[in-house]
């Protein structure tokens, strides 16, 4: 038996022994805005299911919430091949994810690359175990696509930094324990005046205000900093060297979005919805025009899935995410928007409900999903910025002079 196969049987029996019975076959619940919040962990987590807590503790102790991170930082220390085996076996057991975490998806990889040893030892193990929930302080009211236009001031006060300013679109800032944040440490330069810093969201002077979206949910906040004191040891990388870290982290963000794609809109499959609401004629969806557009969309979706898989296989020989992930982010957003629009169209007037009587939960979810999906081509870099990145970094076209 190869090492990998022996690892596989080890994993199998570990899952068998450690996955709480109540979670067996629970499947990968969608990590949507509507999902169970406890999956995000953190200090303020309210466990709705004690078995979910147990599952996180056990996975965290093995380091398998971050399978490829080094063991000295609490990670699983697995090779890419072993991590894939782990993923396969968790999938086979239909185990629910133990943890959803911006710490694992975004912050951890850049800490591994840019942080000093003390910072890694301090933060990475807690991320792995889901003890600290992180949020991302990037966008500001005047700095969206032009992220480097940010203005949040971080002033050196000798023994600490003092931070003043505000962020917007901070995901779940009202539930987060810590923030990784871009701040301005030099007002005379643009990109070279930005630093990357970590701090505690319970620090005096931090306030959050949830933003209500058109979909009715509030996954994002406005976040205000007034004279927030931050220890100087919390700066990651070089002073004024934060932009490189920021870009790197954005790549991980896009890669993360890409590999999962966008969800939302409920679990109703488009072709099933069309069959149920429009009906079949001679085995074909009765509205031929809609049928052709559903087929075109489904084909695009399959082409997208094949591409994600192909890029992942090709990336194995490379290090880190490639600029091609920008096309994936762009395509994923468009696909999800197309899908949710078609789902609502297939449902006809039943897809146009907001709430209350007369509409099923799946119908309400479809419309909410459509509305939420409009943000997919804005958050984490707009589609326009993605296309700019592709045309410049991948295709080598130059800036307009």
């Amino acid at each position: 038996m190869s090492d990998l196969e022996s690892f596989r049987s080890e994993v199998k029996s570990w899952i068998e022994d450690n996955l709480p019975a109540s979670l067996k076959g629970a499947g990968a619940r969608a990590l949507t805005d509507e999902g169970d919040a406890s999956i995000w962990g953190g200090k303020r987590v309210k466990w709705t299911n004690p078995d979910a807590k147990l599952w996180l503790e056990r996975m965290g102790a093995k380091g398998w919430t971050a399978p490829t991170w080094p063991t000295q930082y609490g990670g699983g220390g697995l090779t890419a091949a072993e991590a894939r085996v782990l993923e396969q076996e968790l999938g086979r057991a239909k185990a629910p994810p133990a943890l959803a975490s911006f710490g694992i998806w975004m912050l951890g990889p850049v800490l591994l690359e840019y942080a000093n040893e003390e910072q890694k030892m301090e933060h990475l193990p807690k991320i792995v175990r889901g003890e600290i929930r992180w949020c991302q302080g990037y966008s500001e009211p005047g700095a969206g696509s032009d992220l480097a236009g940010l203005r949040t001031q971080c002033v050196d006060e000798g023994d600490h930094y003092l931070i003043n300013g505000s962020k917007i679109w901070t995901s779940y800032a009202n539930h987060a324990d810590w923030i990784f944040c871009l701040v301005r440490t030099d007002n005379t330069k643009k990109h070279e005046g930005i630093s990357f810093i970590l701090f505690d969201m319970t620090s005096p002077g931090v306030e959050t205000r949830p933003i209500k979206l058109i979909s009715g949910n509030s996954p994002f906040c406005e976040t205000f900093f007034t004279d927030v004191k931050v220890p100087k040891a919390n700066l990651v990388g070089k002073l004024n060297g934060g932009w490189d870290i920021a870009k790197r982290l954005l790549q991980y963000e896009r890669q993360n979005i890409s590999s999962g794609g966008f969800g939302g809109g409920g679990g109703y499959d488009l072709q099933d919805a069309a069959k149920d609401y429009v009906g079949l004629e001679n085995g074909k969806i009765a509205d031929a025009d809609l049928r052709a557009r559903i087929a075109a969309h489904k084909m695009d979706a399959q082409a997208f899935a094949l591409t994600v898989r192909r890029l992942q296989e090709e990336a194995k020989t490379q290090k880190g995410p490639s600029p091609a992930t920008s096309i994936i982010k762009y395509a994923a957003a468009k696909l999800n928007q197309d899908r949710t629009e078609l789902l609502v169209e297939a449902m006809g007037s039943q897809g146009l409900g907001w709430d209350g009587e007369g509409y099923s939960p799946a119908e309400i979810m479809a419309m909410r999903g459509l509305l939420r999906a409009k943000g997919n081509s804005i958050e984490g870099g707009t589609s326009e910025v993605n296309l700019n990145v592709v045309s410049k970094r991948v295709l080598g076209l130059l800036d307009h002079q």
Binding site: I214, W354, G375, T382, E384, H400
Partner: protein, 352 residues
């Protein structure tokens, strides 16, 4: 826009002024947030009637001005710009048309004066399932069954009901009629009506004729909604700065804006042509109406999506108006048949 008469130009200017003063989008937002059950404000509707708009299709003998559908379309376009919630379409256009085209003298006498003065609100009940298929209605003159997606169905004093046996006029408080309000995404007054051997009177207007007027009127409203959504977005392109530039200086956004403008111009031609054809009683009304409703649906779809995208994050917030336009867009697109339905209808009318 078409070359208007002086009267039409004055009416448009009056509508513009009234809408700006009395019914900006903030008014609709308040109505939504206040949870108004009717989906519109009866006091506002009476004010609109006092402007003369409720009687634009009503003959003078019944208190109206009989100015025609193009004229009413001009007002619908203006009220559509600010998402004004009112029974203007359902009552002043659809019900008035049904009565003028197919009402007995007694029916006209009973209902038209109330329509013209804003005291009577009407609804038009067509769809029986999730999709618009007026050619496959199940309900008969026995007036038993369910109608859904009925605009102003909860508040209506009279309901024009489409059946396979023709149109019927049913009082809002008729025996055998039960109504359930729906909470639709556009926060307008939609309802589901259940009929159980309801009392009603036959109307001799043809369903197709009334339906085509409904579609053309809705298309006019949608043209206004799309035009305003575009103008708000264009303003944003001229004021929002990123990368040290007004975002409206980015060529890819410029080209997308120019394409939207092109679509809006094309849509305006179709909507006005349909309304003019209706007023003239032309032969190609069905074809022009299918064109107008399909084009209006496609254009409003495009513009409402671009409005959000070009506004970026701020457009995703409930506090911004972009979401209100998007939500109204999707409902209006589907009502009385979406673009897909009308493409199919157009092709069939043209014989292929």
């Amino acid at each position: 826009m078409a070359v208007f008469t002086e009267e039409q130009t004055m009416l448009r200017d009056a509508a513009k002024a009234w809408v700006a003063e009395k019914s900006p989008v903030t008014t609709f937002r308040k109505l939504r947030d206040g949870g108004n059950a009717d989906g519109f404000d009866r006091a506002v509707w009476r004010e609109m009637a006092q402007m003369g708009w409720a009687g634009i299709l009503v003959p003078e003998e019944f208190g109206g001005t009989e100015l025609g559908c193009l004229t009413l379309g001009i007002v619908l376009e203006e009220t559509g710009r600010t998402l004004t919630a009112s029974p203007l379409l359902s009552t002043a256009l659809i019900a008035a048309s049904a009565l003028v085209l197919g009402g007995t003298d007694a029916q006209k006498q009973q209902w038209l004066p109330g329509i013209a003065d804003g005291s009577a609100v009407a609804a038009f009940a067509v769809d029986e399932g999730a999709h618009h298929h007026p050619e496959k209605l199940a309900m008969t003159k026995a007036l038993t069954g369910t109608k859904t997606f009925v605009a102003e169905g909860g508040a209506a004093d009279l309901v024009i009901v489409a059946t396979k046996d023709g149109l019927f006029l049913v009082r809002g408080d008729a025996k055998g009629l039960a109504r359930r309000r729906l909470s639709s995404v556009d926060s307008r007054g939609l309802a589901r009506l259940t009929f159980d051997r309801a009392e009603g009177e036959s109307l001799s207007a043809s369903l197709d004729q009334v339906l085509d007027r409904a579609r053309a009127g809705l298309a006019a409203e949608m043209l206004g909604t799309a035009a305003q959504a575009f103008e708000i977005t264009l303003d944003y392109l001229k004021t929002r700065t990123q990368f040290g530039q007004l975002i409206g200086t980015f060529q890819s956004l410029q080209h997308r804006a120019a394409k939207m403008y092109t679509e809006l111009e094309l849509t305006r031609s179709c909507v006005e042509a349909a309304l003019i054809a209706i007023d003239k009683g032309a032969n190609d009304v069905p074809q022009l109406v299918a064109l107008a409703k399909a084009k209006a649906s496609e254009t409003l779809h495009l513009v409402s999506n671009e409005m959000i995208q070009m506004h970026g994050g701020i457009g995703m917030t409930d506090a911004h108006d972009a979401g209100l336009y998007l939500k109204r867009a999707r409902v209006a697109e589907a009502m009385y048949g979406g673009a897909s339905y009308h493409r199919d209808r157009y092709a069939s009318l043209m014989g292929y």
